[in-house]
Every structure is written in structure tokens, then in C-alpha cells.
Amino acid sequence: MTRFAVTRAIEGLIVLLLMSFVVYGLIGLMPGDPIDLMIASNPKLTTADGQRLRALYGLDRPILERYLNWLTAAVQGDFGYSRAFARPVLELVGPRLVNTLVLLITALAVALIVGLGAGLYAALHPRSWIDDLIGYLSFISISTPTFWLALLLIMLFAVVLGVLPASGMPVGADTGLAERLRHLILPVATLSLASAGGYTRYMRAAMIETLGQDFIRTARSKGASEMRIVLRHGLRNALIPVITVIALDFGALFSGALITETMFAYPGMGKAIYDAIMANDFNLALVTLLFATLTTLAGNFAADLGYAWLDPRISLAAGRAGT
């Protein structure tokens, strides 16, 4: 277990290191630089000003040198300074990470409850009209562009019915928990709907597959009730493949969060990444991307733990679970 965690931590570090290099390089390939952006927004700036500012921000150095400088500082805990928000990057990332985790975890929980529940129900009542309905809804859910869904939800619930706020974060005087939760409903609904459809389908398929296994026949031959067969013998086995796909979905969930946060003006990591890239804010883009990666890696790690907990055949001590 410890060995597994250490191995994964090392792997994670390598992935992060590679990511940081790739992202840094990619950002370097983006057209223009932050100073161009300043020049674009303030026509009075001269080229001489541009050069002075470039030197000030260290942008006149070759990309590799800048990367190594950044890396050296990062290793010492200084992840740089966000130009677009004029704050040290870490200071900005902290609250946003919390916001995103709140959104992600809530949405994941909702998606899991709804998706797995619906998938389970459908698997136990194959070819019933409810199964058809669930299948149909899950197809709709995976086929709708997230931003469009968000817009439709906002139109319906915020504008026409006026029952829910159109944005994800309260800004008025009342920012208490209840208000916070009320604001979370639509973003969470958007994000979880986008994932729940997929989970439903995985769950249904896995459960039907499991129910066709020999050991289910054994359980029946023992006289176990349907309830016992499903809960005691089916569910845990069916969850094993489902966990794997869900783990693979973390990246997609994060991508969904980016869209959701943008639509609901929710100050989270996804939006920060997008803003930072759009504003050529090197350091912020880099660090937010790394944190996003770290989040998904952590999610994957959690999924592996869950996987090992569900499946006794997987021994964490022996290294990564084969798939």
C-alpha cells in the first residue's frame, strides 16, 4: 500500500514535470506575449515601453531559460506571479481550487447517485419502458453540448421561472451557506447531467454483464433472493469496471467544469485556466493546469484505491492494477 502510494506519487510527479514542460513550451508557442496584450489595450504605449516592460517581466529571455528559472523557483515553493490578477499564483489558486472541488465533488456525487441508481434500475428491468426512458435520457445527456444545456437551464430556471440564480456564486450581502447552495444548484445540475448519462450506461452494461456470470447462477442455485443476488453478489462486481471508466472520466469532468464555470461565472480553476490562457498569463495558466492535472491524478488515485477495495484480486502492493 505504502509502496503503491509512493510509486504513484513518483509517477504523478513525472507526469506533472512533463506537463509543466509541455505546457510551458506550448504557451511559448502562442502568438504574442503579455506585453502585446498591454499594447493592444493601451494604444499610447510605445515599442520602447514594450521592451522595457518585457525586460521587467523577464519575457526577453529564451523560453528554456525562463522555464528553468520558473522550475527552480517552483521547487522552492514560488510558483510565480499572475500578471492578469497581479497576485502570487498560489494565493489565487487556493480559493479557486476549493471552489472547483466543491463543484466537482458535489457534481460527481450527484452524477454517481443519479447515474448509478438509474443504471442499476435499468439493468434490473431490462427492456421495460422505464429502461427505455432511462436509456433515452442518458443518450440525451451525453449528446448535449454542456454550454447549451447550461444556457437552457439558466433560461428556464433563472429567467422564466425565476426560482434559481443565474450565476454560481452569490455576490450580494447574503453569502451564507444556504445562499451558496442555492447558487450551486444549476452549475451542479449542468455538470452532473453531462456525466450521469455516461455513468448510467456503464452501470447498466456492467450490471447486465455481471448478472450473466456463472457465480450469479451459483447464488441462484443457493436459493438467494433477487435482492441478495443484486446487492451482495452483483453490485460490487459490477462496480469494478464502472470505477475504471469513471476514473478515466475525471479529465472529462474537469473539462465540463471549465465550461460550467464559464457559463455560471463561477470563480473556479477551469475558468481560471481559460482566463489565464486567454490573457497570456503564463504562470497562472501553468500552475492552474498543473493543479488541474494534480486533481485528476488524485481522482485517479482515489479510483485505484476504490478499485483495490472493491476487487480483492488487485493487490496494491504488487504495483499498478492491470486493466
Partner: protein, 325 residues
């Protein structure tokens, strides 16, 4: 039964690593599938490799066909060391070796027609024109008893027995000297097994083949073998002529194996069961691998691995036992 051996296996060892990880250092667990196997197969004879699941007989067969690169040891085919051959040389050698596998359906490419399957070795070795190959396929199909009208159908249209006939035709396409057959009749129904065995015996007689015949079924081995090698836990424990091994076994395991086979119409209690099960190839016991189950085991058996030697006066039979019968 004379001349240089067609196939000789010397000190064959094959270990499989259990886990592989990109970032892992050090050594993982190892499956010791084959742990020092040597034998010779003479031209024109059928050598049956007999043993239970996991004893390494299939690994030996595949290593002999160079489907696995041996961890150690030599495989000489017609005097040539196959383990040293690179791509081209290996390909040339393979032309003279035919292969037959256990699962009749799985051993045929479901996407190809039967004619293509039979002609595939000819295509690989660039033998003949496409018309020649077609003719050759027809000829082979007729020889193994597949109707010519069926040649353009795909494997799923055939029963297990027919599939195995097709597999035999394919194995014979390049006129091999040696056919390695891995459990060729095990997954066939009882009434079909004898058809396929008969076909193989027939082909051997007509084409002067040699068989390395792998089976777990004593009855099948008894029917076809000239000589028999009994394997246990990655090693040959007894090796000799079919009559000697099956009728005068000297190794306690061979004896137990033969006793365990139920006899037709034998009635209750005719077969004798010994306690215990074969060891796992990841954790072999010290000394003679059979000693935990052996009724005659002594202190020496726990310590020293017995060599495969001739146990005194018994003539041609070799056994790997400290205390043979």
C-alpha cells in the same frame, strides 16, 4: 529410429515475469514455467509430452516452435540452433515446422476463407503462384476430408472437428518435417477425437512426419505415442518408450498419474487418488518438486533436485527421482 535427432531441446528454461511497470525498479515475481527440460525427438517418431495443467508442457511446445524466446537453453531443429536465429533464418526454419493448437475455432482466423487459411503458409513463404496455392489448398482439403465446395466459407461455418481438420491441412501446407500439436483433440467431443487422431496417424504414415504431441490425456498419448515424456512442475520426471512408461512407470508421479485415470466401466473405486495438488509455478518447493505429495519422499528429496537419469537396469527409461521403483 536412427540418425541425428530432428529436434533436440537442451536445458530449456522459460520464466515469465508476473508484473511489468514502466517505473518499477528491481525484480518482480517470476513464473518458472519450464525449468530445465531436455529431450530429443527423432525423425519419424511421435513424442508425447504428458502432464497436468501448468506443468509447462505447452510452454515447451511453444518454445520449441520459438513462439517464446527461451530464458535459457537451446532448441536445435535439424541441427540448427533456433534460439540463435534472427528473423530471416527463423522464418526459413519455420517453413519446416507445422503447428496445431487446442481450440479448433480459435486457431483459425475468422476473417479468412478456408482456402486462404490453408494457403496462408504458402503465401508467407512465397511459394507458388496464387493458382498453385489454390490447387495445393484443394489437394490438402481433400486429404483431410474437407469438401471442396466448402473452401470459400469461413471458419465459423464449421464444427470443431472440421476446424481441426482445416488446422491440420494448414500445418501440412509447406510439407513440414515436424508437426508440433498442442492438445489437438482435447476440446473435441468424444466421438470426434478418434476421427482426428486417426487422421493424424494417417498423415504421419503417408508423409513421414514427426510429431511433438502435447496432451494431458493418458488415453490419447497411449494411442499415438512412440515415446513419452511426463512433465511435472516445469521438469521432465520420466522419459522413455510408450510401453515402458505406461506399463512400468518408475517415477512415483507417473504411477499416481496413471492410477488416477478412470477406466471405462471400471466401477466404484477403481482409480486411486493421491493427496495434494501440483505446486504453483511462482513458488516451487525446494528439492524435488513432487516431494510434498510423494509417499516415498525422504529428507534428500527436500534438498536436492533429482537429475533425469537412467535408474539402473531399467533400460531405455529415464527418471528424475532419488528413489525410483
Amino acid at each position: 529410429m536412427n540418425g541425428a535427432p530432428l529436434l533436440s531441446v537442451e536445458g530449456l528454461v522459460k520464466h515469465f515475469p508476473v508484473q511489468r511497470s514502466l517505473f518499477r525498479l528491481g525484480r518482480g515475481t517470476v513464473v518458472r514455467a519450464v525449468d530445465g527440460v531436455s529431450f530429443e525427438l527423432r525423425a519419424g517418431e511421435t513424442l508425447a509430452l504428458v502432464g497436468e495443467t501448468g506443468c509447462g508442457k505447452t510452454t515447451v511446445a511453444r518454445a520449441a516452435a520459438m513462439l517464446h524466446r527461451p530464458t535459457a537453453g537451446r532448441v536445435r531443429f535439424r541441427g540448427q540452433d533456433m534460439t540463435r536465429l534472427r528473423r530471416r533464418g527463423l522464418k526459413a526454419a519455420r517453413r519446416h515446422i507445422g503447428l496445431i493448437f487446442q481450440d479448433p475455432l480459435s486457431s483459425l482466423n475468422p476473417r479468412l476463407s478456408v482456402a486462404r487459411i490453408i494457403a496462408e503458409p504458402l503465401v508467407i513463404h512465397g511459394i507458388g503462384s496464387s493458382r498453385d496455392r489454390r490447387e495445393r489448398a484443394l489437394e490438402l482439403a481433400a486429404a483431410v476430408g474437407i469438401a471442396i465446395g466448402d473452401l470459400d466459407r469461413h471458419p465459423h461455418a464449421f464444427s470443431g472437428g472440421q476446424c481441426q481438420r482445416i488446422a491440420i491441412a494448414r500445418a501440412l501446407a509447406c510439407d513440414p518435417a515436424l508437426v508440433i500439436a498442442d492438445e489437438p483433440v482435447s476440446s473435441l467431443d468424444a466421438s470426434i477425437q478418434s476421427q482426428v487422431l486417426n487422421l493424424m496417424i494417417d498423415m504421419k504414415e503417408r508423409r513421414g512426419l514427426s510429431y511433438l504431441f502435447i496432451t494431458h490425456d493418458i488415453g490419447v498419448a497411449d494411442a499415438i505415442a512412440d515415446r513419452v515424456a511426463v512433465m511435472y512442475a516445469g521438469r521432465i520426471v520420466e522419459f522413455g518408450g510408450r510401453d515402458e512408461v505406461f506399463h512400468h512407470p518408475v517415477h512415483p508421479y507417473t504411477r499416481a498419474l496413471l492410477d488416477a485415470v478412470p477406466q471405462l466401466g471400471g466401477g466404484r473405486g477403481t482409480a486411486v487418488s493421491e493427496p495434494g495438488e501440483p505446486p504453483s509455478a511462482t513458488s516451487l518447493p525446494s528439492g524435488c518438486p513432487y516431494h510434498p505429495r510423494c509417499p516415498k519422499a525422504q529428507a534428500l528429496c527436500k534438498e536436492a533436485i533429482p537429475e533425469l537419469t537412467s535408474p539402473g537396469a531399467k533400460g531405455a527409461t529415464l527418471a528424475a527421482c532419488h528413489f525410483p521403483d
